[in-house]
């Protein structure tokens, strides 16, 4: 379980997040949703420690994270897997080497064991015959899948995904969503996904937090997101002809 308690983040005079409290359960796919520029990714980066914030606290399974130094955070960070928006694969490494990278850095394994684990992770994300390809030779969907394979290489307890299906066609986006959901259940991880894709919300969102103008505006499940009566959330949810058809009359 991950808890963010009363998080406030400012960039100069501009308050990006204001007193946000969230709680992400283990074994669930938790979603942070909202329009672009509302602070979703900033919240995610605060949770993983990439941004320092002015007020608040983050707990990983009741372990204090915020006040730790960089080196003290290391042990918790090795339990974190993260999928970045663009994949963030290392350009100079092949797909296989990218997946092996965290193992090389942190695991006490022989080269053969690392290779076996990398191959397992790549096959788990349904990728074959890409081991020797460089990121520049992979499609957008493949990059995301290699990034997921890298994120799960160390068997993380926590998985963070920043807009995992942005820039992908609807079918590939669905595949990525399903993969994240399956992996979460399989490894009993605490998964946090930032997205503004309503399809993802309805497909995989077990617990949903809606951020609006830097504030936590609404939280609930995919079952009740269509019946909130919250004007800002409704404007977000029913923004297309397709979703308007789902709107209860």
């Amino acid at each position: 379980m991950i808890e963010g308690i009363n998080i406030t983040k400012r960039f100069g005079d501009h308050t990006v997040l204001e007193n946000i409290s969230v709680r992400f359960e283990q074994g669930k796919t938790n979603l942070i949703i909202g329009q672009s520029g509302m602070g979703k990714t900033v919240l995610l980066k605060c949770l993983v420690g990439l941004y320092e914030f002015e007020e608040g606290n983050v707990l990983y399974d009741n372990r204090e994270f915020t006040s730790l130094s960089f080196f003290e955070k290391k042990s918790i960070r090795q339990e974190i897997g993260m999928l970045f928006q663009g994949g963030a694969l290392f350009d100079s490494l092949t797909a296989e080497e990218n997946v092996m990278f965290p193992l090389t850095m942190f695991a006490r394994m022989s080269q053969a064991e690392k290779l076996e684990r990398a191959n397992f992770c790549l096959s788990r994300v349904n990728l074959e015959n890409v081991n020797k390809l460089y990121p520049s030779e992979l499609s957008g969907g493949m990059k995301k899948r290699v990034a997921i394979a890298r994120a799960i290489a160390l068997n993380p307890k926590y998985l963070f995904c920043d807009e995992p299906n942005s820039g992908l066609d609807p079918q590939t986006a669905n595949l990525i969503d399903e993969l994240i959901s399956e992996i979460t259940l399989e490894y009993n991880m605490t998964t946090v996904v930032v997205t503004h894709d309503m399809n993802s919300v309805l497909e995989i969102g077990e617990k949903i937090y809606f951020i609006y103008k830097g504030k936590l505006w609404w939280d609930g499940t995919r079952d009740n997101i269509l019946h909130t009566g919250n004007p800002e959330l409704e404007a977000f949810v029913f923004n297309s002809e397709l979703t308007r058809r789902l709107k209860p009359t």
């Binding site: 960070r77 970045f84 928006q85 963030a88 290392f90 350009d91 965290p102 090389t104 850095m105």
Partner: protein
């Protein structure tokens, strides 16, 4: 005030770079990769520039020596001294600053804007140390070899130019380059080179590491890295010369 801000941030980055490194086996591999990228890939450009620089120096020396009281072997002597004391360590370092510095700043800058550095940080890796330390160590190790090669090739270039144009005899030139030789001059040049190597890699890396935005900012970081490294080289050249030769 902005200079102080950047200088402070540069020192903070250096502190992070030299703090508790990650796994040493990974560093060794990275070090060797950087030796190849920063050093061995620069051999050709250094060789070509050095040969022509030595050749031009010799021709200019011969052109300027018009007094019969100055012996012709002075051409060889002056070419050697110019190459060893200034041209090889300083000019070649400035050229390496353009080649290597822009490469470092753009590589690290691209990693920053594509969130690869964030990925390292999330994994719990000290990204500054992991990315920058092997580059600094590799440059400080390989640049002195490049500069020694430059000295030798510059002198050879001068010999080729001097003898083929008939400005000086082969014997006279060789006598000149052997005259009044002090090993300390070479140590002085190599000391400067090691300092310049540190300046080039660390300042370029600083500009790359603190890039934010996109492709345009990566280009700006690359330019700033080269400009500020060059200025720092010129300043430190003056200070080191005063300290080591005065």
């Amino acid at each position: 005030m902005k200079i102080l801000y950047h200088f402070g941030r540069y020192l903070m980055l250096l502190k992070k770079v030299f703090r508790q490194p990650e796994k040493m086996t990974v560093y060794r591999r990275q070090f060797l990769v950087e030796v190849e990228k920063l050093g061995l890939d620069s051999v050709w450009i250094v060789a070509i520039i050095s040969v022509f620089m030595g050749a031009v120096l010799t021709i200019q020396m011969a052109f300027n020596i018009d007094s019969p009281l100055v012996p012709l072997y002075t051409i060889g002597f002056a070419t050697r001294q110019s190459m060893v004391l200034e041209f090889a360590p300083t000019i070649i370092s400035l050229i390496l600053c353009g080649k290597v510095g822009s490469r470092i700043a753009s590589e690290i800058g691209t990693m920053r804007v594509t969130e690869q550095i964030d990925a390292l940080e999330v994994m719990g890796i000290n990204s500054a140390s992991f990315l920058i330390l092997p580059k600094i160590m590799a440059a400080m190790f390989i640049f002195p070899f490049l500069i020694m090669m430059s000295m030798v090739l510059g002198v050879i270039g001068g010999w080729v130019a001097g003898t083929t144009t008939g400005l000086i005899t082969s014997f006279g030139y060789i006598y000149g380059i052997q005259s009044f030789f002090h090993m300390y001059d070479v140590w002085y040049a190599l000391t400067k080179t090691v300092v310049f190597a540190f300046i080039i890699t660390s300042i370029s890396a600083y500009h790359g590491y603190h890039t934010s935005g996109g492709a345009l900012e990566v280009g700006n970081a690359s330019t700033s890295g080269v400009v500020y490294s060059s200025i720092a080289i010129i300043f430190s050249n003056l200070i080191l010369t005063q300290l080591l030769l005065a």
